[in-house]
Symmetry: C2
Subunit: 442 residues, 2 copies
């Protein structure tokens, strides 16, 4: 039986999980895959601390070269952080003929083009199932299970931290900052949660899914990203009244030869399966032209769920190695269209909008707002004007109340113009809240 | 570029979908897979009718031999019905060195052992992604994506017809027969819906998932199967009050070296993701020891969703053929444990129960029922006694009311003894309704 040797670089939460499964499930993996996977060496900078899954001395590497220079190591599992270090490591491995498995979404989203083109040139496989949605086998589903489909749309809840926060804000009516603090205490948010809450992490993941689905490379800096830092309980509850649930949604769509990729707080109909995905869970809805709507749900992070995906890649690549499969038809890169993908500009977005204006409670305000909407051809689907007093304004201390308008599908360009005009005309007394709505009305 | 030749036997709804996608997406499939798939011939008994996707004359086969004897055909797609005919066809193809793709769950569940062992012997691959849950790539997920997991549990909503009926019964409070009639008119239920509503279809599918997950063969006749024919609206609404939603659930679990496989109407907590799967959709929840709970959701039937899965198998097998991959490590069969699996007997089930007794509304009835429960060590979790009068009984025309008891986990054996005793003692005036409850309390 062919033995496949694996080296791991980075021995954090996921690395420990991978080592544990490779050791404890050796026999199961042999039975299921027909190959023997041997964890040969693990490198981490500091072995002088305790690990959830301690390794015997002979498996510890004290220099990176013990892995990169070892000709017996077939697959290198990269589980470090950042971008520069793993980029250098992975490109070195590729050049040395080692296949690579990585969970590093930032690297793949921001430097994937270089990595995948080099891998394709050298006939090397890059496994990245663990980079998106943890234990959910979504990469395999898109690449193989749904191969017969043109992908029309992907909606993803791809960041557990923000989904946990939004779920708590909705269910316990707590504000953003207190829920974030709670999430940090419970370990659901990192000490520095910036990349999670500002949407960058979800954007990395949707960039990867979009690249794979549409077969080309995406300029990460061109993706529209908005986080949940400014999300207000008032909007969560007003949205609920209108039948919508707020999620940090990662979206990829294809139309007119362009790919629309965006991440922002989004109202989904409360009956939508994704609206019901609560807490730290991830879910990805994929709509293909043949299969229709499918959804994949599971744990998006954590030691063993992520390790489960890392190992699925090790087995897959290991089987190819054992079979002596060349690279003739293996699509190693995501670039099956062999091109850069062109991204839709934010001003060209065309969707529905929830707008909350903060207005004095006087006659004629709604008429003035509606007139501006009409001027920009924006059609109104629903209005909520609440008696809830937010503050008082002006000399007469008029009551200030929220005025919520849900539009039909409109262009982002027109919406922004209308908001600007309404704010400039001082119909409103505070900055307008804009939340995009996805409900397939188009 | 390697050309893979495909023959289809059976040109119904799915066959038309497969032919359409193979023809219309030829270019996309070449780009994504690196191989060219050529639909060479299709056989059906009667070409003298109209088809949703009509074929040119040169692709029509008028005898089965035009496919089975054609040495150029690499893959035969079997899309006929029944068991004997496809069994003979598939075994003939295997012997002739042709790989097989099938959507025939009945065949695989009832004669899979013969088929897979023969295929393994001959080095032939059998693709069956389309046999379970239509377009959802659940076979690939279990086989590859979750390869690192010991599967602890599978819950499946695997039959769209029954899920449609139960959803309608719940939401519109209609009874079984009127909803079934409606479903037939809308094409969601077949003219003869027996195999759907009696649970056989779902049982075929869970047998396949269980075989694959636990790596052996299952004696189909040993699976416990109960359909939805006797489901009553009263139980659906009483269950709802207790916080449960009724689904026809297909279950596979492993414990103590045995596999428990069963299909029956089941109460799931209304907050469970599967409880929210409505209408004709299918969903499969898989719990693995590494990945935790994952769920896969999508269309379980229909021309293009099922064809999407058929084509994923054609591409997968086609790529192997093109690479000249032998059978050294390809697990062609589901039998990676190389054994028959031992099934748990129904009397050894151990779960929670919803029991509805029909009792006269007189003092002491609950005490008598509770005494029998105590005798058999069955612990009661909740009781609902309703004032709703079902009928009148006895000389005094006493009111007859429903008495619902939700138990904690208990053995099926004890439950059956308790029901028998309660019925024999004539505490009840009608047959007791028993519905199993799954809520992970164990």
């Amino acid at each position: 039986m062919k033995q496949i040797n694996v080296g791991i670089v980075g021995y954090g939460v996921v690395g420990n999980g991978v080592a544990r499964i490779l050791e404890e499930k050796k026999e199961l993996l042999i039975k299921k895959s027909g190959i023997q996977i041997n964890l040969k060496k693990v490198f981490t900078r500091n072995w002088n601390k305790s690990f959830p899954y301690p390794l015997p001395e002979e498996k510890k590497a004290y220099s990176l070269e013990e892995i990169t220079e070892d000709k017996d190591i077939d697959i290198v599992v990269e589980l470090t952080g950042g971008i520069e270090f793993p980029y250098n490591l992975i490109t070195e491995c590729i050049k040395k003929g080692k296949h690579v498995v990585t969970a590093n979404k930032a690297l793949l989203a921001e430097k994937g083009k270089d990595v995948f083109l080099l891998a394709e040139e050298k006939g090397i496989r890059i496994g990245f199932e663990a980079a998106v949605a943890g234990g959910i086998p979504i990469i395999r589903a898109l690449r193989e299970g749904l191969v017969a489909n043109s992908i029309e749309r992907i909606y993803g809840i791809l960041n557990g931290t923000t989904n946990y926060i939004l779920t708590k804000m909705l269910k316990e009516k707590k504000d953003f900052n207190s829920v974030l603090k709670e999430a940090q205490e419970l370990g659901y948010a990192e000490a520095d949660p910036t990349l999670d809450i500002n949407g960058t992490d979800a954007a990395h993941k949707i960039a990867i899914l979009a690249s794979l689905s549409y077969g080309g490379f995406i300029d990460f800096s061109g993706i529209y990203v908005e986080g949940i830092e400014k999300v207000n309980n008032l909007d969560i509850s007003l949205g609920r009244e209108l039948g919508y649930t707020l999620k940090l949604l990662a979206i990829a769509k294809s139309h007119n030869g362009e790919i629309e990729v965006r991440v922002h707080p989004t109202f989904l109909p409360s009956e939508h399966p994704l609206a019901k995905v609560d807490g730290v869970y991830n879910a990805v809805m994929v709509e293909g032209d043949s299969v229709g709507e499918t959804m994949f749900y599971g744990k998006g992070a954590g030691s063993l769920p992520t390790a489960s995906s890392v190992i699925s890649d090790i087995v897959d690549i290991g089987k190819s190695i054992a079979l002596g499969v060349g690279r003739e038809i293996e699509v190693t890169s995501m670039n099956w269209e062999h091109k850069d993908l062109s991204l839709t500009k934010v001003s060209d977005f065309y969707t529905r909008y929830y707008l909350r204006f903060t207005v004095p409670d006087v006659t004629g305000v709604l008429a003035r707002v509606a007139a501006v909407f009409a001027k920009y051809s924006i059609s109104i689907a629903a209005v909520i004007q609440k008696e809830k007093v937010l503050s008082f304004t002006g000399e007469k201390k008029e009551k200030v109340v929220p005025l919520v308008i849900l539009t039909h599908t409109a262009s982002e360009n027109n919406i922004q113009k209308a908001i600007k005009e309404i704010e400039q005309e001082k119909i409103t007394v505070e900055k307008t809240v804009l939340i995009r709505v996805e409900d397939e009305e188009i």
